[in-house]
Symmetry: C2
Subunit: 136 residues, 2 copies
DNA sequence: ATGGATGCAAATATTTTGCATTTTG
DNA sequence: CAAAATGCAAAATATTTGCATCCAT
């Protein structure tokens, strides 16, 4: 493997995968596969839902995407951001606030290390009722 | 509401719900609905899968159960432990270590409070590869 | 040309719901 | 007896797979 191999993945450079990657770059936030598929539709891109799922899975396996799961069970995908953060989500209206958590990051790494776990990732979700919904 | 009302839930006291509750008390660990249903079978209890799901949902809504989700998407249920803790889960073999996180608790409460959110709950899952799986 | 990628349809898997019947209080 | 719970079958949801075709290399 050459030292400057910039193809992180071994996949082919298809229109569809490019469209998915471009969309994720623009959105830069967690979306379900189905939402992403719909957004591609809106952009006039013609990509099958199956292909969206496959592209997302490939990218996630390659470590290019963060994946989290909604309480309802759908998985959410987002382009990996160098600025790792978590979410504070309103149970009632789903309003989401991104919060940074350096405290949690180091805590998670330390805890995992103490148990000999490697290749650590973590998810933190805080649920509550936002001020607007609470005042109704 | 009487001050010493010990019926946390308003449900009826059926054989099936009792069986599910008793099983959860014995298992005292995270299990899928299907696994719990199978265990009831093994015990000779005759409870429909639908009923298991409904009992679990009712108990979870009542705050009697903790619910988490596997990376694969199935939800896991466990009798609430009074000692709130989080999980360090091996991606490969699903081995789970329970870890306490006072740091995270206070962090989550503070962050949520700063944004005016009330009635806070949170989930933290740490994923990694356990020592055994990593050495293979 | 050749093997990976696509996309439709169908299969899976998990969880929920309609509804007739049974059971609890 | 009335309301709630059960359980079967069917629906709903999310995601994956078979396979014939297409296209990037």
């Amino acid at each position: 493997m050459s030292p400057y191999d910039d193809s992180a993945t071994r996949q082919r450079n298809t229109r569809q995968r490019h469209a998915v990657a471009a969309l994720l770059a623009d959105v830069n936030d967690f979306r379900t596969a189905q939402e992403l598929h719909g957004l591609l539709r809106d952009r006039g891109e013609r990509v099958g839902l199956t292909t969206v799922y496959r592209a997302l899975q490939t990218m996630a396996d390659a470590g290019e995407l963060d994946v989290m799961r909604l309480p309802s069970g759908e998985q959410l995908f987002r382009r990996c951001s160098s600025t790792h953060h978590h979410h504070l989500v309103c149970r009632s209206c789903a309003r989401t606030v991104e919060v940074a958590g350096p405290t949690v990051e180091s805590w998670a790494d330390r805890i995992a290390g103490e148990h000999g776990f490697v290749d650590i990732s973590h998810t933190v979700e805080i649920f509550g009722t936002c001020p607007t919904c609470a005042s109704v």
